[in-house]
Symmetry: C2
Subunit: 155 residues, 2 copies
């Protein structure tokens, strides 16, 4: 609240921008039939992807242990967003895939993010927003690490 020393503003603003978008997304998701989804679930489903994955691989992608990944999968399985199916080509593995509901949540999220971007474009002007995106692209690594949950945990 109130005044934060000058150097602190930039990181805080970046974080708040992220938070504003994520909060708006989940408010909208809740309105449209996905009230139980939490921000980190987006990272998880994104990491699972349309082609599916395994618990070990998911753990690596998210930067957490395979056991933690397993528990997260359990939770999203109970919520109906993920399903485990045995892998015929390797009977040790269980393939984790998005259910239709999971795919719906993901495509819906993409649409909502597009809408939010449009709102920002209206507020700033498309050109300014493009310049903001371009600046951030120059400032951040090209690869998208999805290990935010693990990174958050280290807070």
């Amino acid at each position: 609240m109130s005044s934060v020393p000058p150097g602190f503003e930039l990181p805080l603003r970046l974080f708040m921008g992220f938070r504003v978008l994520i909060d708006a997304l989940h408010a909208e998701l809740a309105r449209r039939g996905h009230p139980d989804l939490r921000p980190m679930h987006g990272f998880v489903m994104q990491a699972v992807g349309r082609q599916g994955t395994t618990a070990v691989e998911l753990g690596r992608t998210l930067g957490v242990s395979k056991q933690a990944a397993g528990k997260t999968i359990d939770a999203l399985e109970r919520l109906g967003y993920l399903a485990r199916t045995p892998d015929p080509s390797d009977s040790r593995r269980k393939l984790v895939t998005l259910t239709p509901r999971g795919v719906d949540a993901l495509t819906l999220s993409a649409r909502v993010f597009d809408d939010l971007r449009r709102e920002w474009s209206d507020k700033l002007g498309e050109e300014t927003l493009r310049s903001l995106e371009s600046a951030l692209r120059h400032l951040t690594p090209t690869a998208f690490p999805l290990d935010a949950p693990g990174w958050f945990g280290s807070l």
Copy 2:
């Protein structure tokens, strides 16, 4: 890794910008004698401020229960960044204040953030960076809520 659907880029870039700065800050803090500080400690010390606070008040500021705030204070007290002193004007309260080491960490952080901003300014040009900051100011609430730890928790 790899390609994330288009609408997802903006929030992710904002988050990554934040993360890049925070990671750089803590790498530098570790180099300069503060290897045990974690990102959330910055929020906490910022919330404590130069004038001090109490556990209840800190909890409110951080958006967590007073008990959680108390445990966090315990941890930072053990690390030597905070101290509890009885409040002579109200013997129920214990005033939580920054130790000299805590003040050092905070002023050092401010300096490092200034350096990082300068790096970004060199990469982008001061004008573009200013425009980015101005855009973010328009897009995010004016008050700085410091309840990030609680918000993170809800992930």
